[in-house]
Subunit: 378 residues, 2 copies
């Protein structure tokens, strides 16, 4: 009887029956633990009795050819133990006979576009703020707002700090923008924004603030939803110039300041963005120099142009409190960050150029948020 | 050069590079569409050049042995076209050499415990309210609250209807409980609660209401988070009797009524739950008969017992406005629903026994929510 139940369970697992249907079965089933961190090592396991080759790839590996083979046990469970990479959040997946497979035993998944990638959090000082704080946590909300400029309603992710719902306090706002390929969940999913802000606020390092994470793809209503049309604009048409940045500053900012207890002042607005979102940050602050006192383009920079000095002088004239650039020295955008750094210097504009190791990757963007958020609104 | 880029892209895709890192590459890559609904058929596709056998399983299939084989094309893309099942939301996955694999081209994923299952929404009358409404949408929030009874803080999913943030109106509240194996995201993810409520409210069929979806596992702070301890209680200890239901009624309900614009009256509280959550519904309403006017146990029912009539008489004496039972005739809980139906009848308690086809499954629980929500608070 037990064997029959186990077989039925395995068959149902393989084909995706509901956990709520399976609740009675699962108590009988073998509980594989994966990943399992013990001391300085990590063990990965996958049940795959009929597979020929099972490899592990993790984004801590230097090259895509560095995959590690798993070994099959008598019970059909493949396993490998490796030295834990240095503290950070990583993504990994199994490759079963050439096909990427998620770890079915790991709750922790990041969504990156259409791909759901398993997470591995190696604990340590660097990753401490990426984990859940054990005390006070803010709220993450998925809101919809109307954009007349874009002609659609759109979803936005909003972090409100612990205590927001239970007070009459007004808060400053950080607008936090994603890169190409991302969407309104990129910062909360891959960027661990809620965990980082919860920890920084709990530790008294950052002031309580609202964090607004919009979708930066102007034709997209929301990521991950079905049946929603994507709108295509003629970006060469004059009325569509900077259409996304206009909708951000002229519609989303007023929406947030109307529907949330936000302080509607330049000194209480920050804007930061990675890659494409750094471009949006640059465009929003040069087009609307009177809107944001805190400006943080990440892994973006700019190019030399005839108008660059003039654009920066607009910001200088309007005044600002923080201009913070972050970039990895191995990032393809590093030269563009050097351009921006030099341009700010020659225009007599105080700023920070925070150079990290590494490239165009989330481990840097989490690090930057964790580093610049304590500097805001002080 | 183009070939090199394509090769690099394929390698990076296989090992899970970031979409934001890949943005420059993806424009060159072949864009596989899967699933693709055309008329009455659906096509599924998977790129898997080195796989030996690729099958499709969808939960519309009657048996787990009904998997459909895909055929490999010259480009390494496997494909199969089948007749679309009747309108509903389904889950499906590929089985590559015996291992479950998600469809990497499909955004729509439901989380069920640790498993992320691809969704297929076949449009039609039955599934119309499960899709995004094109007009007004409510907000889905992930909140944390403290439970002294359970000794932990906990995450709860809260749906607030369109207009909530922009008004001073007070709203009635539906407490919506999941089953064993589920968590505080089960109803919003698999149950499509936000879409169903948005559509029903938009159509004027349901009154605007707050929907509160807590985590029904008393030792669990939240699903899907890392490093959070699970608390184990001695359920035989008298102080732990009905510990979850006590925390629900004595802590969560007051929390919601303090921190949201909720109407703090019995006539403005409904409670519904599936399976284990139906058991919680039964326990909450028999232990606290003065709290909820709308009572909807789904796929749960009860057993005959010496105290059953006495428990129901408590509810009858306190008064209620709706007692609505939903169950599929193929559900293993169907006999228990017949017990409850008969017990309500013999105790002279008006009620609805909504019998559907099918079993203990989400297609029924979505249908029930879509059916009873219009009856609440009227």
């Amino acid at each position: 009887m037990k064997k029959i139940l186990l077989f039925a369970f395995a068959a149902m697992m393989a084909v995706g029956a509901s956990a709520q249907e399976l609740a009675n079965f699962s108590r009988n089933a073998q509980q594989i633990v994966s990943p399992e961190i013990k001391g300085d090592s990590v063990t990965f396991r996958l049940s795959a009795n009929y597979a020929t080759v099972v490899n592990l790839y993790g984004n801590w590996m230097a090259n895509y050819t560095d995959v590690v083979p798993l070994t099959k046990g008598n019970d059909g469970v493949w396993e490998v133990t490796i030295a834990a990479p240095e503290p950070e959040i990583y993504t990994y997946n199994f490759i079963v006979d050439g096909v990427s497979v998620n770890d079915p035993r790991n709750y922790m998944v990041q969504r990156d576009g259409t791909r759901y990638l398993n997470m591995l959090l190696v604990p340590g000082e660097r990753s401490a703020n990426y984990n859940e704080t054990l005390a006070h946590r803010g709220t993450v909300s998925y809101r919809w707002y109307d954009s007349n400029i874009l002609g659609i309603n759109r979803r936005v992710t909003v972090y409100t700090p612990y205590g927001y719902e239970n007070s009459k306090q007004k808060y400053p706002v950080l607008y936090l923008l994603h890169g190409a390929g991302g969407d309104e969940e990129a910062w909360s999913s891959m960027g661990r924004t809620a965990q980082i802000m919860d920890n920084l606020i709990e530790q008294g390092k950052a002031v309580p603030m609202i964090v607004v994470m919009p979708n930066g793809n102007p034709g997209q209503q929301a990521a991950g939803t079905m049946g929603l049309p994507v709108k295509n604009y003629d970006y060469r048409a004059p009325e569509n110039a900077n259409i996304y940045v206009r909708s951000l500053v002229e519609e989303l900012v007023p929406f947030i300041e109307k529907e949330y207890r936000a302080i509607p002042k330049k000194a209480s607005r920050a804007i930061a963005g990675l890659s494409m979102g750094g471009g949006h940050t640059f465009a929003a602050t040069t087009l609307y120099p009177d809107k944001f006192d805190y400006i943080c383009p990440l892994s973006a920079g700019t190019r030399e142009s005839d108008t660059l000095d003039q654009q920066l002088q607009g910001i200088k004239k309007a005044g600002y409190k923080l201009y913070w650039i972050g970039c990895g020295t191995a990032d393809f955008a590093y030269p563009n960050n050097q351009v921006l750094d030099k341009a700010l210097t020659r225009n007599g504009m105080p700023h920070t150029f925070y150079e990290s190791t590494g490239g165009h990757e989330w481990k840097n963007w989490r690090l930057y948020l964790n580093t610049f958020a304590p500097l805001l609104f002080k």
